[in-house]
């Protein structure tokens, strides 16, 4: 064993290490391979904040993080993309509309007091709301039955109400439409109230509970000391008058309450309040999650949603891996057929290459997506090309009548510059893609780029080490193992200067 065979040992050692890594560290799979939902959220500028700075993005992200945790999806990820976007990944989530609803709302909680002289208007609106609410309750109890909505539909008062609120409808009114109507009424109610300085930012906690008597869900609020003082002041100012206290969330009034005369001197103290709108369990839970996370400092828009079914993901993996492996098998057969022993060496080197690359993907980790797998396959193409370049040179040297060992050395030396150029130009494309591309384009650039870097290493080291190792065996050290002896040029003296 010569000195050069140390390299072979190093390669073997790396290979063993790679197998260990690949079997022990799980690969990170992208959503297109394991199924789930991906949402891109864009932070919208407002009149006050026209430019979105990293600070504002961080603020939005902190709030969203809390809300995402409240959703209870395991492994969810929220990351900033570019200057004004956030990317949320919810593995396994098939129904992103629930998440979209919880995340997309600003959840600005306000306490407002009734404007003077609006008693009559408010009473009108409240009675409208009451009748709508009783219908909602009736529909809910009967599971939104079509029979019942047909009956309600013939009621002219209700139809008038819908007309009044500009809700066009060509079909039978159902539960959803009554809820929509209720929101419209509540929005109108909130306009009868004027804002105060008490908002959701003074909350320390939010919770939910079910009222013992009515079975309705309520959301409970706890204020910090400053908030508690403000709440006491506000309640004091309207205690005993006909003015009501309105709890408004995102411009929709949730409940209006009167403050008793007994609070005239100190207001309601203790720093706690309850919102008793007409909540279902889910409504209460969503509101609780939103209030706990706080209001979004800036509104957000959901600009992209991708949902991929879980079995579609596994199918994608299966198909692309099968196709790729078959392709590579053919490549291996081709290489052995053309380059004989050298072809066999390159198949070995390429197997090592694949192992190294996969283990790097696992360590870093690189999230594997479908385009990422395509990038990996293309990087194998680059690695094959490096081997072809070397072996073509080898054949050339042998044909010119050079000895085997000298030919091997010369072939690596001569192919070197082509290999470097080819790999570096591909690497330049990868860097451009990685820094300027978005989403899965990045994944492709990452896998291809890592592959190209490693391929440079394996082509120049692995292939050579294996080849040299095999050449230390007398039986293999024959020119006929590489080319057909008849191809050797008889007169090959004046080719090289």
């Amino acid at each position: 064993m010569g000195r050069k065979n140390y390299w072979f040992l190093v390669v073997i050692l790396f290979a063993v290490l790679s197998i260990f890594i690949c079997t022990n560290i799980p690969f990170q799979l992208g959503l297109d391979l394991r199924g789930g939902s991906q949402l891109t959220l864009e932070v919208q500028p407002t009149d006050e904040i026209t430019k979105i700075t990293p600070n504002e993005i961080e603020g939005v992200k902190a709030v969203l993080d809390k809300r995402v945790n409240g959703l209870g999806v395991s492994d969810s990820q929220l990351q900033t993309v570019g200057t004004n976007q956030l990317l949320l990944e919810l593995p396994g989530e098939q129904d992103p509309s629930g998440a979209a609803k919880v995340l997309g709302e600003t959840a600005l909680l306000e306490f407002r007091i009734q404007r003077i002289g609006t008693e009559l208007q408010l009473r009108d609106l409240q009675s409208q709301r009451n009748s709508v609410e009783s219908i909602i309750k009736l529909l809910e109890e009967n599971n939104n039955s079509a029979q019942l909505s047909k009956e309600i539909n013939t009621n002219s008062d209700i139809n008038k109400l819908f007309e009044k609120y500009n809700i066009k409808s060509t079909q039978i009114l159902d539960l959803d439409q009554f809820i929509f109507l209720r929101n419209k009424i509540n929005k109108k109610i909130s306009l009868l109230f004027e804002p105060t300085s008490l908002t959701g930012q003074y909350l320390t906690n939010a919770g939910r509970r079910q009222d013992q008597n009515t079975n309705n869900w309520e959301v409970t609020l706890s204020f910090n000391s400053e908030g508690g003082e403000k709440f006491a002041d506000i309640t004091k100012s309207i205690a005993g008058t006909s003015r009501l206290l309105g709890i408004v969330i995102d411009g929709i009034s949730n409940s209006e309450a009167s403050v008793g005369k007994q609070f005239e001197t100190a207001g309601i103290t203790g720093g706690a309040a309850t919102i008793s709108g007409n909540f279902t369990v889910d409504d209460a839970r969503n509101l609780e999650v939103q209030l706990r996370g706080g209001a979004l400092p800036l509104p957000i828009d959901i600009i992209q949603i991708r949902t991929i079914g879980p079995s579609l993901g596994t199918q994608n993996i299966r198909l692309s891996l099968f196709a790729a492996l078959t392709g590579l098998f053919f490549v291996g057969v081709f290489m052995i057929f053309i380059y004989k022993l050298a072809g066999f060496v390159s198949v070995l080197a390429l197997s090592f290459y694949s192992l190294f690359t996969l283990s790097i993907y696992a360590i870093l980790p690189v999230t594997l997506t479908l385009p990422g797998i395509a990038g990996f396959i293309l990087s194998i193409g680059m690695a094959v090309d490096a081997n072809v370049l070397i072996f073509e040179r080898l054949k050339e040297e042998l044909r010119n009548g050079n000895t085997l060992i000298r030919s091997i050395d010369a072939s690596f030396k001569n192919a070197f510059s082509s290999i470097i150029d080819g790999h570096l130009t591909t690497l330049i494309s990868c860097i451009a893609l990685f820094y300027l591309g978005t989403g899965f384009v990045k994944g492709f650039a990452a896998t291809l780029g890592i592959g190209v870097l490693l391929s440079l290493f394996t082509a120049l080291t692995c292939t050579k080490a294996i080849l040299k190792f095999l050449m230390s065996y007398q039986g293999l050290r024959k020119v006929s193992n590489f080319i057909n002896p008849s191809q050797i040029l008889p007169s090959s003296i004046n080719v090289q200067q």
């Binding site: 409808s169 579609l312 053919f330 081709f334 053309i338 082509s418 330049i428 893609l433 090289q496």
Partner: protein
């Protein structure tokens, strides 16, 4: 197999140029047709990624023989949601009459293309379609919604990364070789990219094939591949011109191309093998991606074997004999 294939680029240069010119012209015509077409209005038929919108793909749970679905019924079914479903009853709800429906994979897959919807709106559509045309395999449903602003942003970032990659490659070759090589490698690259774009503009014009972000990725891969091939040939030309200095430059080029010809063909072939396997077995997601690469690999081999060296031969200052 002879050690040096007898390549005569200089002699056949006009034929080579004619072939490349014809393909480029056909490509440009395809792009102009797309640009003029009222449905496309761009040199390429831009897909969901770039225009924004909603794409819902449903897999029907029927075995091999799925009965034909009537796509007109389906799109009417979707339009009927307007003003009826709670998610589509406001005045500014998206226009559901503009749905495009395609049946793929022996009508096993139903692909529905709609304007930009919200998550709950898309769910309404899925529920409605499942009611009338189901059953579908829920686990295989995929929904993709891209906002119009994101689409524009994706298009912009794709173009910027293409330009930067081309520039980077040109600067690298300029540094490693000289300006002439760099210019020709970039020329060959643009030729290959143009032909791939041309093929896709024709496909878009005739068969409504769309280009997505993956297409931009494939263009960049093709760019890298094309330059790689060209550089290998150029590298050998430079080497030959140092060794065989007594020969004229055009012979040196012919010899260099001859010496690298087997390598270029083998490499192209080994790259094509996995790509063709992806085309056949890889499923629909990667189909057009692999297709673009196949075209690119073929065009890239041609331009690096024939086009770039034949152009190098005439730009040489050396005398021809």
């Amino acid at each position: 197999m002879k050690s040096k294939l007898n390549v005569q680029l200089y002699k056949n240069r006009k034929l080579i140029w004619f072939i490349s010119f014809s393909f480029s012209l056909i490509s440009i015509i395809g792009m102009i047709l797309c640009l003029k077409s009222p449905n496309i209005k761009a040199p390429l038929n831009l897909g969901l990624d770039y225009t924004g919108g909603t794409q819902i793909t449903l897999e029907r749970s029927c075995s091999d023989n799925c009965f034909e679905l009537n796509t007109i019924d389906l799109s009417q079914n979707i339009s009927s949601l307007t003003n009826v479903d709670k998610n589509f009853d406001s005045d500014n709800s998206p226009n559901l009459n503009r749905s495009q429906i395609q049946l793929l994979d022996n009508s096993k897959l139903v692909s529905i293309r709609l304007p930009f919807l919200t998550a709950s709106q898309s769910e309404s559509v899925v529920t409605e379609v499942s009611k009338s045309f189901g059953p579908f395999i829920n686990d295989n449903t995929s929904v993709e919604i891209i906002g119009p602003s994101l689409g524009k942003q994706l298009l912009k970032s794709s173009l910027i990364s293409l330009i930067f990659a081309f520039l980077g490659i040109a600067i690298y070759i300029n540094f490693r070789y000289d300006r002439r090589y760099s210019f020709l490698a970039l020329f060959a690259l643009l030729h290959d990219v143009l032909i791939v774009c041309g093929v896709f503009s024709w496909l878009g014009y005739l068969y409504n094939v769309e280009v997505d972000s993956l297409f931009a990725v494939s263009l960049l891969t093709i760019a890298g591949y094309s330059v790689n091939n060209t550089v290998v040939v150029f590298d050998r030309i430079r080497e030959k011109s140092l060794i065989e200095n007594e020969l004229s430059f055009k012979y040196q080029i012919d010899n260099a191309v001859g010496a690298t010809l087997t390598r270029t063909l083998y490499t192209s072939f080994t790259t094509l093998l996995p790509l063709i396997c992806i085309l056949i077995w890889g499923g629909s997601t990667l189909y057009w991606f692999a297709f673009a690469l196949v075209i690119g690999v073929i065009a890239g081999s041609w331009s690096s074997i024939a086009l770039a060296p034949s152009l190098l031969a005439i730009t040489s200052k050396k005398e021809f004999d």
